[in-house]
């Protein structure tokens, strides 16, 4: 009888001590990122049958369980990848938008406008060298601004590409960690116990991973934990993982790639790029921004530069520069007899190609070397003839781009509005997804987080239980002693 009492007391003592240590573990990890509150699950120990009654034998520790909800966790990872997508997109579009921001400063629109107006000024006094130099300087500013914008877009593009490459390295590290944890969890749980802390670590790794792209996770019938990228395929399957690789590949008709920049593919299948299939998360945002907005903007900017050069040159070539042209006996000018080229001069260097026209735009050597080579006159030897200068200034309001549908300014403003719209939209999306994420996080924390108040109450509960169990042992000891005392 007394041994029973002792055993029951002992089991209570153990259970209380174990609960206490779990409480202490919870308190210690209250601020640990990704820690899931643990609870000791107890059950009453198997009963013992006496002749006519059933006797309790104390308490058994059934398991130590994580306070974890699969659905809540999935909702969290989903909103996390969604938010990371919007956050990264807002970030990148913000960078791009800043390139085109001239609300409080100078920008391409103003600079282009001044370029045309300087030709208008020159049309007043085409013979005036000072104004000619002003035109030249304004043209240089236009050229520099094209270079600035193109250069900034290139910088953003290459920074995105290097982010993608770094991201892929991190992803591989995380996949490897998940696979390793899968193996460790399997080993630890062979006996049926729960590897709580390893599972927490795996959840953390999954959450880091889903910042890059949307994931689906499931446990298959063999108990293997699988991770796959939505719309792409499996990256972790039990203890194995598939490494991704980012790098330039030979272009295979992919119009979005420029200068062989980072494409993503499975290291084992380098011929199948999965770049376009990644549709969410930070990685998805980077790729979308790079392959859509940046590519479109670069193209529009190139079209603008290309159109400006071609239109200006085609008029400029018809005109005569500010140099005397020899005349024949009839008094007709003979441009070929002039010591230098006097007509047919390009204002900008003629571009070879539409592609990267904004990068290669520059003044022609003639105009660069002498502002008197700016052609203003339609006829030779007429320094006051301003018809060519007028025609060039008129290009400002001519619909020359988009096969005669838009002016330079309209085209440029369309690009700026578009990037502004996208940036504004992604900012709103980001605010929204941040709200949803905060909700999902707090939902998750309500279930899995540590409440110090709760732990404090538990502490007292378990302390009391421990004390009571200890007293129980003493009581049974005294009872035993009193029986012994009967002996002589």
């Amino acid at each position: 009888m007394s041994t029973d009492l002792l055993n029951i007391g002992k089991s209570g003592l153990f259970a209380a001590k174990q609960s206490m240590s779990t409480t202490s573990h919870n308190i210690a990890n209250a601020n640990t990122e990704g820690f899931t509150k643990q609870e000791v699950k107890t059950e009453n120990a198997p009963t013992r049958y006496e002749s006519s009654y059933v006797l309790g034998t104390g308490v058994d520790i059934q398991s130590i369980k994580r306070s974890h909800d699969e659905m809540v966790e999935k909702k969290l990872t989903k909103s996390l990848s969604n938010h990371k997508f919007n956050e990264e997109r807002t970030n990148q579009l913000g960078h791009i938008e800043e390139v085109f921001n001239e609300v409080n400063s100078e920008g391409m629109n103003k600079i282009l406008n001044r370029f045309f107006n300087s030709f208008r000024e020159l049309s007043n006094q085409p013979e005036n060298e000072t104004i000619r130099n002003v035109v030249k300087e304004n043209a240089k500013i236009v050229v520099n601004d094209f270079h600035r914008i193109r250069g900034n877009l290139d910088d953003i593009r290459s920074s995105i590409s290097s982010k993608v490459t770094q991201g892929v390295d991190h992803i591989n590290l995380l996949s490897k960690t998940v696979a390793k944890l899968n193996r460790e969890i399997a080993t630890e749980e062979v006996a049926g116990a729960m590897a709580n802390d390893l599972r927490d670590q795996r959840d953390i790794a999954i959450r880091s991973l889903t910042e890059y792209f949307p994931l689906t996770t499931y446990t298959d019938e063999k108990g293997q934990y699988n991770v796959s990228i939505e719309g792409v395929g499996s990256i972790v399957s039990g203890g194995n993982y598939q490494a991704l690789q980012a790098g330039s590949r030979a272009k295979d008709g992919n119009a979005n790639t420029e200068r062989g920049e980072a494409e993503i593919f499975f290291a084992s299948r380098p011929t199948h790029a999965i770049t376009d299939k990644i549709k969410g998360g930070a990685l998805g945002a980077q790729l979308k921004t790079r392959n859509e907005e940046l590519t479109v903007l670069e193209k529009q900017l190139d079209e603008l530069a290309h159109g400006l050069v071609l239109a200006t040159n085609s008029i400029h070539r018809r005109g005569f520069a500010n140099h005397p042209v020899p005349v024949d006996s009839q008094g007709n000018p003979v441009p070929n007899a002039a010591p230098q080229k006097v007509t047919g001069i390009n204002f900008f260097k003629e571009p070879l190609d539409l592609n990267r026209a904004a990068e290669y735009i520059t003044l022609s050597d003639e105009v660069e070397s002498d502002a008197n080579n700016i052609a203003t006159a339609l006829e030779a030897n007429k320094p006051g003839d301003n018809r060519v200068a007028l025609a060039i200034s008129k290009l400002q309001h001519e619909k020359v781009l988009g096969s005669g549908t838009t002016t330079f300014e309209e085209q440029y403003l369309k690009s700026v509005s578009n990037i502004g719209l996208q940036a504004g939209k992604s900012k709103i999306d980001q605010e929204q997804s941040q709200g949803i994420l905060a909700q999902a996080k707090s939902f998750k924390e309500r279930i899995s987080g540590v409440s110090l108040d709760e732990e404090a109450a538990n502490m007292i509960k378990y302390q009391n239980a421990y004390e009571a169990s200890a007293k129980m042992i003493r009581a049974s000891d005294e009872m035993f002693k009193s029986v012994l005392g009967l002996l002589p």
């Binding site: 209250a30 609300v103 007429k382 300014e409 404090a456």
Partner: protein
């Protein structure tokens, strides 16, 4: 009962504070610039509108400069035209006086000198410049339009200037249209062939008339030719020729008056454009302000509101964060 863990309350505090602070920061930026728009995404459509308005304003500034240039040019031209008309009228008066036979040849010699003077003055007026630009040289602005013989060296081109979007006005009168009569009213060749009528050539009155236009064989007479013919008529004492020249001079004076009227009309057009541009500028400024300027009252009311929200968040958070069951278990 919903469970609240440490992290869930911290998360919600962080979220609430972050959101309010974010809004406050944005309002503060607006407050410091007094602009409701600081980047394109704040109002993409408004941004495009704003940039377009700015372009129009820069254009307007340039049109105003062009207008100033045109006004200077035309005012100067008008002054010169006035002087020329006066000179010609004076020459005509002299001619009228000498058209009858009552004066002695010696007096006519004296008048001839006066006419010569008038012609010289006329020449110098016709070669007037603004800066280094000759007024009456057509587009050959750097070439002196009339040589000593009154031969026109400029061209017949008008210089047009844009004074408002797609509004072009001529700012020059070419020496050709001003000094040469129109083809229908040209002088008889014999009238001008002064060598035939003059027994000896006065060294003062070197006559080397050549047709102005070499392309056609038509002879056009310039004001200078008329003055020279008049001078010759005085020298050669030829009242008939003087009489004949009177009509020519009348038409020259008429022509100059006509150009003065034309210059006046162009100046009026410019003034109209100027008014239009000023009006457009005003409308643009109003629109620009609507697009880019923040509503100050609303802005500061919002700012105040957000500050209050932030304070309230802080208060609520401090109450939540500073209480713990531990406090009551001592």
């Amino acid at each position: 009962m919903s469970r609240v863990s440490e992290n869930s309350s911290i998360h919600s505090i962080n979220y609430a504070v972050g959101k309010t602070k974010g809004r406050l920061e944005e309002l503060q930026l607006k407050g410091s610039t007094l602009k409701r728009m600081n980047k394109p995404s704040d109002d993409p459509v408004g941004n495009a509108e704003l940039l377009a308005i700015r372009s129009q304003n820069i254009d307007a500034g340039q049109y105003m400069r062009n207008i100033n240039f045109a006004q200077t040019q035309l005012a100067y031209t008008e002054d010169v035209l006035e002087e020329m008309t006066d000179l010609l009228s004076k020459a005509k008066e002299l001619a009228i006086g000498q058209a009858s036979t009552i004066y002695a040849p010696e007096i006519r010699q004296g008048v001839a000198k006066e006419i010569h003077q008038i012609r010289q003055q006329m020449l110098s007026l016709s070669n007037k410049r603004i800066g280094n630009r000759y007024l009456f040289a057509g587009q050959k602005v750097l070439t002196r339009p009339f040589d000593q013989d009154g031969k026109y060296l400029g061209d017949k081109n008008k210089i047009n200037i844009e004074i408002n979007k797609d509004v072009y006005i001529p700012v020059n009168i070419t020496g050709h249209e001003l000094f040469y009569g129109d083809l229908n009213k040209k002088l008889e060749k014999s009238d001008l062939d002064l060598n035939q009528q003059r027994p000896d050539i006065d060294p003062h009155v070197e006559i080397m008339r050549k047709p102005a236009s070499t392309e056609t064989n038509e002879v056009q007479s310039s004001v200078f030719d008329e003055l020279r013919a008049l001078e010759n008529a005085m020298v050669t004492d030829n009242p008939q020729l003087i009489q004949g020249l009177l009509e020519r001079m009348d038409s020259s004076i008429e022509r100059m008056v006509g150009f003065r009227a034309q210059v006046g009309a162009i100046t009026n057009t410019i003034t109209n454009s100027e008014t239009n541009i000023e009006k457009t500028k005003l409308v643009n400024e109003a629109q620009k302000s609507r697009v880019e300027d923040a509503d100050v009252t609303e802005l500061f009311a919002d700012l105040q509101k957000e500050q209050n929200v932030l304070k309230a968040t802080y208060n609520a958070s401090s109450k939540l964060m500073n209480t713990s069951l531990m406090d009551f278990l001592k």
